[in-house]
């Protein structure tokens, strides 16, 4: 390649590398180097074999490709971020349920298994309601987490009751576990039949 064209190739490659900085970070990291290589090869091809008009056409083509793919990758990245929004459901739902539990705790002065059952049930309902309101497209995941939280609490309660030889919490925990399994199984069957 003659020195004048080599200089043009370097300038064009440099300009293209600057354009690559506008792409989302992950895309740049993943493919930026190869895109720069591909651009350099294409530009060398055009500068060596093409006429002046071909160079202009190539520059317009690259500009159009850059603008279009930049928009597309930006949209994809935004979608990916929005898809993760449902993870925020978990702390929000737990906080709301915990606040509800505090309010109920202030209202109920006498401790009884029935009041615990009512509180846990209400917490699960609030958790699912908040979860589905925040992430309607992830209601299955929210329900799965809610059942997991309820069953985890029940297992702890049953375990502590059994360790302390206290039949009240142990029975309560066992009932909750049975209830959790009873809630989980039909939901699981429904998911299976939907995906079949």
């Amino acid at each position: 390649m003659i020195p004048g064209r080599e200089r043009w190739l370097r300038r064009m490659s440099c300009a293209y590398r600057a354009l690559l900085l506008f792409y989302p970070q992950t895309f740049q990291r993943e493919h930026g180097r190869e895109m720069a290589l591909l651009f350099r090869d294409s530009a060398r091809d055009v500068l060596t074999n093409g006429a002046g008009f071909d160079v202009v056409r190539f520059v317009l083509h690259i500009g159009h490709d850059w603008a279009r793919s930049l928009f597309r990758e930006g949209v994809d990245m935004t979608r990916a971020v929005l898809a993760l929004r449902w993870i925020a459901t978990l702390p929000l739902a737990i906080l709301t349920a915990a606040a509800a539990q505090q309010i109920i705790g202030m209202l109920i002065t006498r401790f009884s298994p029935r009041s615990i059952l009512a509180t846990v049930f209400l917490m699960a309902v609030i958790f699912v309601t908040v979860g589905i309101a925040v992430a309607p497209s992830r209601r299955d995941s929210v329900a799965r987490i809610a059942i997991g939280v309820v069953m985890g609490a029940a297992a702890i309660s049953a375990g502590l009751g059994a360790l302390n030889m206290n039949p009240g919490p142990a029975l309560f925990g066992a009932c909750m576990l049975a209830g959790g399994i009873a809630a989980y199984l039909p939901w699981r069957v429904r998911l299976r039949s939907r995906s079949a």
Partner: protein
């Protein structure tokens, strides 16, 4: 047990994805080779720029249609920094299904003698 994804679920493909898969059917290629062969296969009608090509490859990698190859066909003759891509089993099934779908569409066009008809003169009213 892993479930095999259904090829039809990914149809129809965009022209860029279809042509990239078609090129990779012949063996693994790097980005520049894919770009050149797509332009050749489509008679220059489809020219992929770096952004479109690597955007498509990123989505195809995520969908499991292609994967990256660790092997280099000839390290002596090739740039070590290039990445090579190869078609997966799912990619082969998908490109076959898409080619079948297009063949059906072309057969329907032929049955209506679309290719025998003269194109309407430009500016003619319907």
């Amino acid at each position: 047990m892993s479930r095999r994804p259904h090829a039809d679920a990914l149809l129809p493909l965009t022209p860029a994805v279809f042509h990239i898969l078609l090129v990779l059917v012949d063996g693994e290629r790097h980005g520049y080779a894919i770009m050149r062969e797509v332009a050749l296969d489509s008679d220059g009608a489809l020219r992929l720029g770096p952004g479109t090509l690597y955007g498509c490859l990123r989505r195809m990698l995520a969908a499991g249609l292609v994967d990256e190859s660790d092997e280099r066909p000839d390290p002596e003759m090739d740039d070590e920094r290039r990445r090579y891509y190869r078609i997966t089993d799912l990619g082969t099934r998908v490109v076959r299904a898409e080619a079948g779908r297009l063949a059906t569409a072309v057969a329907a066009a032929q049955a209506r003698r679309l290719f025998d008809r003269k194109a309407p003169a430009s500016g003619a009213r319907r």
